[in-house]
């Protein structure tokens, strides 16, 4: 699979081999995503607030 241009936010991301390169997990271990998932559904943006980084 060759490079693919993917719309991301307001820009465009070129992925050389889509799906083949993984970003290592950066998140702090989270015991329960329930609040964030519910938040994403509840907010007009469709995105949860960022609670932890």
């Amino acid at each position: 699979m060759g490079p693919i241009d993917i719309a991301y936010g307001k820009g465009c991301l070129t992925v050389e081999a889509a799906g083949d390169v993984l970003t290592p997990p950066k998140a702090t271990p989270i015991a329960d995503e329930t609040g964030a998932v519910f938040d994403a559904l509840d907010r007009a943006t469709g995105r949860a607030r960022l609670y932890r980084r």
Partner: protein, 290 residues
């Protein structure tokens, strides 16, 4: 590559081959659009996600209803754009409308309105989430009865709109030995209330989540499959969730609902898109044969 040893790989291939040989219906692979960076004001971003799902050979998609609602004034045209990808719109996802203060009838009316909206875009189901009755899995009979009544009424109104109501769990429903989810399955009307069983969330709170699926698969409209490494979400096959055991349970049950890859990263500023759904899709083919 998915983190699978040779034995697991061979067992997966054997199980898939057995399913195909028997002509048994298989689950269908779907994808939650929340793996992508979406914006209610940018319908093109949802379409980009759908194009990439199609490239990955998913057959259907689920999305937060917020990402289609702004298109209601051009619903027919938007639906045509969606349909052009050849993906089925499995479900629009929202929260269970508030029913304690508003009353279950008003909650049902609100859900009916949302189902009517979702149907205009071709959705088959309305999926509703809820925070759960308590964080500990301990709750009163009165609270349980109120939720059951609300779900039954909501389910009837969603059915009136021509859609299926599927209740989506998080962890709280599976705390205290799956107390709330077990009660909901026991007390809600199976004609009107199905499950969008998030077995990833369930497993974090209740290690016997696969046994729960085995016992109640007839109520399961769809499965949200996830994987976790040290309780952090990772693509399917790269964590500790027992996917092989789930595949065996699905095979034995003959369950053939929607098997939906969910790669939401609610605590990350950027969604992974294909970086997660690509590897997960490969794992789905390998482990589940779909």
């Amino acid at each position: 590559m998915p983190n699978l040893d040779r034995r697991s790989f061979l067992m997966g291939v054997a199980a898939v081959a057995a399913s195909h040989a028997a002509g048994a219906p298989l689950p269908r692979p779907g994808c939650q659009a929340n793996a992508w960076n979406l914006d209610p004001a940018r319908f093109d971003l949802l379409l980009t996600a759908l194009r990439e799902m199609k490239e990955l050979e998913f057959q259907g998609f689920e999305t937060n209803i917020h990402f289609v609602q702004p298109q209601l004034d051009r619903a027919a045209a938007a639906r045509a754009q969606i349909d052009a990808f050849g993906l089925e719109f499995i479900a629009a996802h929202t929260n269970l409308p508030e029913y304690l203060k508003a009353g279950p009838e008003n909650a049902a009316a609100e859900a009916g309105k949302l189902a009517d909206q979702a149907k205009q875009f071709g959705a088959h189901a309305l999926v509703v989430s809820h925070r759960g009755l308590s964080q500990t899995g301990e709750f009163s009979d009165a609270d349980l009865e109120a939720k059951v009544r609300a779900l039954n009424l909501v389910g009837q109104r969603v059915a009136d709109a021509g859609l299926v109501l599927a209740y989506h769990n998080h962890q709280p429903e599976f705390r205290n030995h799956a107390a709330e989810e077990s009660a909901l399955v026991r007390l809600t009307d199976p004609k009107f209330v199905w499950l969008m069983f998030d077995i990833g969330h369930a497993w974090l709170a209740y290690p016997d989540a696969i046994a729960f699926f085995e016992a109640h698969h007839e109520r399961v409209f769809g499965l949200h499959v996830r994987d976790f490494h040290n309780r952090v979400s990772v693509p399917l096959g790269e964590g500790e969730f027992p996917l092989r055991k789930l595949a065996d349970a699905i095979h034995k049950a003959g369950w053939h609902g929607w098997l939906i890859d969910e790669e939401e990263r609610p605590n990350d500023p950027d969604k992974p898109g294909k970086r997660a759904t690509g590897p997960s899709r490969r794992t789905m083919k390998l482990i589940f044969g779909v």
